[in-house]
Subunit: 343 residues, 2 copies
């Protein structure tokens, strides 16, 4: 067998693993936004019936996983691996969600890039015959994230215009080797990029250089230009990061002005909902992909999607110590049809 | 190609990826212990020349990575992927260590199981031709971990007899497809196990049920008995967890009384060094494997090694909320010779 590698950061998947099913879950604000109809489960209670926001996040993620299983008509025993992570310290959102699943578990930390990271490793495991069916899943919760990364909600801290709103949302994507699509065709794995941004209220600017790096690598490695895709989405740069990426991409000869959007700009209505620069959090990109975008690829409304999830590897400790916020972005190409030979 | 899966948790690697080089780094206490000669780099300054313990951990891990590259006679550009994680929130030890490497990066969180998790995913990526050469690396630092998980060092908290000592250490293992061994032959991926332990000062007991689950799954899936191996090591259960595993394994029909040790019992001299129940931390198992065990497999002193790294997915937040400490264990079989057909 020949290597599947293209260029320095991309692999082409030989067997093009297929998305068998996906599901999304969200909270109150997500249920009031423009994508409300795309959610499989919405809960108006920020506690999701639990006693803490951390337990709420696990409950939401577990529900999302079970909904994806139900849509795939599978029991949990049919899943060979879980690839999961979240924003909480020690990734406890994922660990407690998975503890009753009895499925071999790979814990990940990619901040808001986690859905693309988990989907990349899931696709590799399936494509290489190390697994038949796997699940990529991730979540975030506004209340648990604010408490951990910034200030407790009761403190009532003011939010800056560049701040993004961590989505209370989860996404689960079940990937299998043989299927009818959508097909996962290429993976471009990101490097850690230090853009020098130190403002914990401007994640979009911190992640934009990483998004640019990965998108440019994808186009160079695959020989594709941006217009190959019906839609390129980052997740989640918000308005500030989105604008930076469009501008920097143009300077690098890539025209992203036509078919490029950001999950953080899609999940909420910024005119009517008080989310400042847009949505963020692992659950933002995950729920937009799992609930909204993948069904559109399945139906053919979007034939070629490049999902480029971006993560700010932001630690309150190192930020307070004066270090910058490191960014990373992983891109996954998802297509309605298997690409023709040579593509 | 047929699936590489054996049973429900194990894969057999068809091309048996080879360890090209490995390196370990440690601090003062590690340099005073019985494995001092096995370290490639030791530093008596807990700050490793940096201004914070978090930066110190990154500097140690980066040095360890560079030493492994030097031993492999490779530049960083020859590494296709880094698989890395650590104990710090948002895994910043790894992120800052990797930020200048310019290597595509998969961030992991498996607590002290991280070296086995990263080695598993590294082996899959190489075995399946998604990469030619990759590096698994991880670290922990006593001072940054105590501050984050328990109390700041200046507080002078009393340690209980069951407490373990988080190693200030790092390990890096470079894996390639074609080589002269040691060979990575089997991966048994663990499930999250809730043993019900809630004592943050007794990680050994919290992780022991996960170690037992994975070891039993490995023996069942592969048809091997414990005596197939010259050495079975967990990392890091310490004296409490080690004793529990031996006892529970016997109840499950597996005799671990002869060839089973624990990295947390190997790294320090518990008679002379004040480490209570033994060592712990991602860097404990990683440095014992990379610095001490892998050279012994290479030389043939150990022909068959089962490295079963255990992680306590312990969050101070959820522990204070009354939740138990979840455990996980991943096992990697590493052998001097490629196994004969059928093994």
């Amino acid at each position: 067998m020949n290597s599947a590698r293209l260029g320095s950061q991309t692999v082409k998947l030989i067997r093009t693993p297929s998305v068998l099913a996906s599901a999304s879950a969200g909270g109150k604000l997500e249920g009031e936004g423009p994508l409300r109809e795309s959610f499989d489960y919405l809960c108006g209670d920020s506690y999701f019936g639990e006693k803490s926001w951390e337990s709420a996040e696990s409950a939401m993620l577990k529900t999302c996983y079970e909904l994806a299983l139900a849509k795939a008509r599978l029991n949990s025993s049919a899943i060979n691996y879980l690839f999961s992570g979240d924003l909480l310290n020690q990734c406890v959102g994922s660990a407690f969600a998975a503890k009753d699943s009895s499925v071999p578990y790979f814990g990940l930390y990619g901040a808001c890039s986690t859905m693309a990271e988990s989907l990349s490793l899931a696709a590799i495991a399936v494509d290489g015959w190390y697994a038949d069916t796997v699940c990529a899943l991730t979540s975030s919760h506004f209340c648990s994230a604010e408490r951990q990364f910034r200030t407790p909600l009761a403190y009532g801290g003011q939010r800056t215009p560049t701040a993004q709103w961590t989505a209370t949302a989860a996404g689960a994507v079940i990937v299998t080797r043989e299927g009818n699509g959508p097909y996962i065709t290429h993976l471009t794995t990101g490097k850690i990029v230090d853009g020098g941004v130190k403002d914990a209220n401007n994640m979009g600017a911190a992640m934009a250089p990483a998004a640019l790096e990965t998108l440019c690598a994808h186009f160079e490695d695959t020989g594709r230009s941006p217009d190959y895709y019906d839609l390129i989405v980052t997740g989640d740069l918000g308005s500030v990061g989105h604008e930076i990426v469009v501008e920097l991409a143009a300077q690098n000869g890539a025209d992203l002005s036509k078919n490029y959007n950001d999950c953080g700009l899609m999940l909420y209505d910024r005119e009517k909902q008080d989310v400042h620069a847009g949505g963020s959090g692992c659950g933002c990109g995950a729920s937009v992909l799992a609930g909204y975008l993948l069904p559109k690829v399945k139906s053919g409304e979007i034939k070629r999607l490049l999902f480029a999830a971006t993560g700010a590897l932001m630690s309150p400790t190192t930020t307070m110590q004066g270090d910058s916020i490191l960014g990373i972005c992983h891109a996954v190409a998802i297509e309605k049809d298997k690409p023709a030979f040579g593509n």
